[in-house]
Symmetry: C2
């Protein structure tokens, strides 16, 4: 999503294995080692406190790399702490004995760690494809002053100017625009910039949505928001370049009234509860709008539209619609389509002229966030049979292509968001997000977010940890620990056997950080639900997993997912990793696209109308698939031939 990436790449060589990896400047040595498949013991998650991750800088330059754990003499000799040293040039680094992996892994071959390709779009592509329909355009008018012979009304003068100067005709206008018309015309000698909002349909009329004194035609902005149950993301879009000028996020203000959708609905059913839920999320959005505008020197008055997407319940609360029946059988939302709304009507702090567009949803369980992803990723225009997966507490799955689309939702449980995992947590500072293991010593390399001492495990870390434990035979196909391993890191705890990722003294909290058999069981249930959902849906439409030509991953978890780990544990179907694309926050992407081009708004109605909803819970096949998936990677290993082959080899 970041088009402004101008960081340099450097070549890093790790000795004694000689493994080489190209990495961006500024990343830590420990992350570079992880990319190279080189293990460095690093218990403390990159905060520098354990001092175990020392490497010797043989050539090149590193920034940092010294804490109290290293003497000045050691530093002079070239010792660096890998977790707090960052890459600034090509460099050769030697892994010291204490952090070195056992001999078995000393090959110079860099293992491929598959990350999904990032989906990138730009306006030029849309223009080339002939689908670029800018939702607003600015027109500068140089009008003549009224005289006795030519004393038509101000509005008439502007409409005549649009006709004469731009051959534009047939408009609707609005009271807030009329209110500022007289002054705007006379402020810069009858030179004004008129903002035209283009219709989506052929029969529609262009609306005059703003008038500004002088020529400000180069300034054109929109807002795009993803209203997540946990986090609200907002972006400021430059409509002329298509770029995201800024992106801000904050917790959804409703979060103090319950972490999940159901508890929010329950609260909304109380007297004044709906109003409060509405106000809380609106406050969050308004404060993000403040930040987006202030940080970019853009006036609130310059915003003419905002697109928002969220799941069905969040959309209801956003709009102040009664969500009661979303959680009650037979799960009926008030509406799945939402008309364009005046932003002020939902209390957004935007000009009276500003329009809020809200993504339609399919049902109580497949919401506007998913539709936004399907639209924004271009899935609905592709020929390839595509599986779109957005993984959160609920996993929403869409299969299809430009001819047909079928969607389903399954409850994965909160494991990927840290729920039900002893030391689970959201992806925040101190969360173990990546991991490797010395199979000889069982010592871990924990990589945490923001290089903070570990305080827990987030979804992406959990996936890699389980996959690694499984791959090295530390846990079996049912997720149970091999009890014969001689290491203090594997021990019996309150919830079965567990592996100690970080000792208390190196952790950010006041206990050892572990992963135990109950955690692994919960993880397996979650991954089984998703895999079973995908397989049931794929087979439900008459296809096989092998027919999938593309997988699109969405959601914060999807963005950081390690594909090899995901296929090793059987979370994702085993497909060629080159066919996996990730769109990051698909919901935000869809909103952004809607702010960029009207083709989204034109097409979304048809897409939603034609999308079929598949009720997994009503299919007995789903339950069977789920049970069959409660193994690593699956009961039927023939579904994971590559993983099976690798496992066999490593044994």
């Amino acid at each position: 999503m970041n088009g402004d990436n101008d960081k340099e790449n450097y070549q890093i060589t790790f000795m004694p294995s000689g493994r080489q990896v190209e990495v961006e400047s500024g990343i830590s040595v420990i992350k570079a080692a992880r990319l190279a498949g080189v293990h460095i013991n690093a218990s403390c998650g990159g905060s520098g406190v354990c001092g175990k991750c020392r490497v010797i800088l043989e050539s090149g330059t590193l920034t940092g790399g010294k804490s109290e754990k290293l003497t000045d003499g050691e530093y002079e000799e070239g010792y660096r702490q890998a977790c707090i040293a960052t890459i600034e040039s090509n460099a050769t680094l030697r892994i010291t004995a204490e952090s070195e992996l056992g001999t078995g892994a000393m090959s110079a071959e860099v293992p491929i760690r598959h990350q999904a390709r990032m989906h990138v779009f730009n306006i030029e592509d849309l223009k080339e494809a002939g689908v670029f329909m800018p939702p607003t355009e600015k027109r500068v008018l140089h009008l003549s002053e009224p005289t006795h012979e030519d004393n038509m009304a101000d509005a008439g003068r502007i409409i005549q100017g649009l006709k004469n100067e731009y051959n534009e005709r047939g408009f609707k206008t609005h009271l807030p625009v009329l209110k500022r018309m007289r002054s705007a015309l006379r402020q810069k000698d009858f030179v004004v910039t008129v903002t035209l909002s283009r219709p989506v349909s052929k029969n529609g009329k262009t609306h005059i949505v703003n008038i500004q004194p002088g020529d400000v035609s180069h300034r054109s902005y929109g807002l795009a928001f993803d209203i997540g149950t946990t986090t609200v993301y907002g972006s400021l879009v430059d409509r002329q370049t298509g770029k995201l000028l800024a992106r801000k996020a904050d917790y959804n203000g409703q979060i103090s009234y319950g972490e999940d959708v159901i508890s929010r609905i329950v609260y909304a059913e109380k007297p004044k509860g709906l109003q409060l839920m509405h106000e809380l999320v609106i406050n969050t959005i308004n404060s993000l709008i403040d930040k987006l505008l202030k940080g970019n020197d853009i006036e609130r008055d310059e915003i003419t539209s905002i697109t928002l997407s969220g799941n069905t319940a969040m959309t209801h609360l956003l709009l102040g619609l009664e969500p009661h029946n979303i959680r009650r059988t037979p799960y009926v939302p008030v509406s799945t389509f939402f008309p364009p709304i005046r932003a002020r009507d939902i209390d957004l702090d935007l000009p009276l002229r500003a329009v809020a567009l809200v993504y339609p949803s399919i049902s109580s369980y497949v919401g506007g966030d998913i539709i936004a992803g399907v639209m924004g990723s271009g899935m609905y225009t592709t020929e390839a049979v595509t599986l779109y997966i957005d993984i959160g507490t609920n996993a929403e799955i869409v299969i299809g292509n430009r001819e047909w689309l079928v969607c389903a939702a399954c409850s994965a449980g909160p494991a990927f968001e840290g729920g039900g995992i002893t030391h689970g947590m959201r992806a925040a500072a101190g969360a173990i997000e990546d991991f490797s293991l010395n199979p000889a010593t069982y010592e871990p390399m924990n990589i945490t977010l923001n290089n903070k001492p570990p305080i827990g495990i987030c979804g992406s870390g959990l996936l890699v940890i389980v996959a690694t434990l499984f791959e090295y035979g530390i846990i079996d196909r049912q997720g149970k620990f091999n009890r014969d391993l001689d290491t203090p890191r594997i021990r019996e705890g309150r919830s079965g056997y567990e592996y100690v990722l970080t000792w208390e003294k190196e952790a950010g909290g006041d206990s050892d950080i572990v992963i135990n058999e109950v955690d692994i069981e919960n993880f397996i249930r979650a991954k089984a639900a998703i895999y079973a959902g995908c397989k049931t849906l794929v087979e439900g439409v008459g296809l096989q997993i092998t027919d999938l030509e593309q997988i699109i991953l969405a959601g914060a978890f999807g963005s950081y997912i390690d594909l090899d780990s995901a296929m090793t544990v059987g979370l994702l179907p085993e497909v060629d990793p080159a066919r996996v694309l990730y769109v990051g926050n698909g919901s935000l992407l869809g909103s952004w696209m809607s702010e960029m081009s009207n083709h989204i708004r034109r097409d979304v109605v048809e897409v939603v109308k034609n999308m079929t909803s598949f009720e997994l819970s009503e299919v007995t096949d789903f339950k069977d698939q789920y049970i069959a998936s409660l193994f690593l990677p699956h009961t039927d290993v023939s579904l994971f031939p590559e993983t099976y082959a690798r496992l066999k080899k490593s044994k």
Copy 2:
């Protein structure tokens, strides 16, 4: 405008002349006498205090007719005070000596006093003409409850119901409707009434503007308002029958900031002045809405639209548009067309769903009130060459028919509203509104509004007084008094000669009520401006006064105008009185019609676009016409052949 007139008519015979007249029950004897052309001395305006208007009841029944001025004995003998006695049956009345007209007028011939015919419309006519397009319709839906097999969203269920039960499809809906949808459906077991707002144009979509639990399809209401500079009139319209359920009026709250349009604009130019002017008129409207609803047991929530019309300045203040350039050359309004507006946006106390429609105007000086009259009276659909005149401080004139329309405005000055007249006043209680004169004794018969002692002269009274004085030769063609008449009622005052209408002792105020030569001069200027405006406009479009096939009078003054007097003084062109129609408050009529049928909204854009504006002030011909009109009836008496013949005969 009053379709509910069920009063009975009675035959009244006045002796000794034997003149007979048919009148409605409940009117005063003095008014009946006026209609019969019978003069009864009545100085005190019908309040009973002068006691001069005594008549003898020879047969039949009267109600009232006795004050302290009449002894019980006299009452027994049949004496009644004509001004405070009302007609209750057929009756014969004898004019007593003291109130009797001189012998010259003792013929039994009842003079025709021409009042314009009232314009009446009803829905059935519109239906017959094929132009009836109800703007809203209600549809009752009997829906089934959602099940697992049929769990579409509430909105989808309603749309499907409209399709299945009424074959209706293609809707737009609104957030306030969605907000109440869930509860409305479940309140009366999925029986709901949906209000559909019909599009004006063929390509337009029907909007779902309300949903109510149960079957309330028989209740459908709208509001129609005329926003006058002085008075705001509001009506409650039953859309099913087309009837006005109620009509209320109040002074425009802005009036304390200036009586005329210009002073309101001046105030609006001050800091926060526009906001204040806006709030004042809105407060007036809101309080009228309260009264209209409360008096008729209708919920605010049942109102889905309001139509408003007013002159260009009033419309600007209503909408909060800057009126600055309306009063500055070259007189440019902000806009002449106004989009449909959400009623709440102009702070009207109506549901969020309610739409406010505001009549477009032509220019700074021909406003939406005139367009409303042209639309409401059906002038724009007639074949007859029609002159439409709305007389107030400014007279607006429209000429044309269904093929073409040309409009003009001329400043008549405030004489018809009581301004610039020594004892001038608005048409309020105590205003002399009608008048006759005993040419032998010069004693007056004053008829006042509400039978109060006279406190002044309103526009319609002024017209009859000047015409009567002129007809009897008491004033000459220049409006100067014949100074040889022997009566204390004609005397020299501070402003030239004057006629005493009421002596102080019989008046409601503390002075004699007079009309003097300066008053008459001002009256003549006002009538000259209107006549010159009409003639210039008629000739400007290449026609002659004699080509006029119809005259439509509008405005409070126009409604009560005595046609004979108007033609005698040369205010109106001399045409067959049968060709004169009055529409009362044309502005209110237009708003009412717009609430009734979309054909008005459909046609008004074309009407306004095709209406040509004629600038009288820029035509030298207008000045010449004006100077030529500064005589009674006109310099060129051949323009008033009937008046001329009558005057010659009476001399």
